[in-house]
Symmetry: C2
Subunit: 111 residues, 2 copies
Amino acid sequence: MANYMTNLDSAFASLADPTRRAIISRLCEGPKSVSELSDPFDIALPSLLKHVRVLEESGLISSVKVGRIRTCKVETHALQATKAWLQQHITTWEERLDRMEAHIETMKRET
Amino acid sequence: MANYMTNLDSAFASLADPTRRAIISRLCEGPKSVSELSDPFDIALPSLLKHVRVLEESGLISSVKVGRIRTCKVETHALQATKAWLQQHITTWEERLDRMEAHIETMKRET
DNA sequence: TCAATACTTTCCCACATGGCTAACTATATG
DNA sequence: CATATAGTTAGCCATGTGGGAAAGTATTGA
């Protein structure tokens, strides 16, 4: 029953960078090594590694090193948490709109 | 059939700041003026206004000025778009896990 | 009309971020 | 053992970001 201390700040910040979203997209196809990840990007390895670190610190991915290869994979908890925040707010707003409409209907009937 | 040119970069970046998420949360209760919004924050008005502008530019909120009062409200399109991105990726990853499991089952049966 | 109100603009500052190169470490592999 | 491979660290740099104070503009309200 782990307490997935999801930090929305860092999760959203991580997702704000297109390179990092692309990394996540690629990892959704399956786990990949750091250099496999770097392949499609026109970016130096240390720069890519920074992105990997950022993603890992925000809990969006995880990685393990075996021999000289570090393999990265997606972690869904943090993704779920950010999605949940969005869903929550969309819902709250839409419920409010519904109440407004209902209220307007009532007003109409009362005239 | 508007093409809601949702810029994920700016949407996620906007949501990375806790003050801005708080602004959105408050706006989900209903539209508010700039100074109403600034009330609960220990922050100067120009700073808050900057956040409002950032949120507006990323399409997460909109605002209109009537007289000397600017009223802000939530816009759900951008929220929906960011949620959709997350949902898409969560789904892709989970489908992959399902295929993996199925594959392992097949392997087992073949031994 | 004069004062208060509600932003708005301008400019400043400290710090974080994303990129780089160069050099280093730790595993394979021939 | 020598060399290639796969990451990693360190340090630099330009730019962006979140905060502020001060001063300005445009609407009310008395």
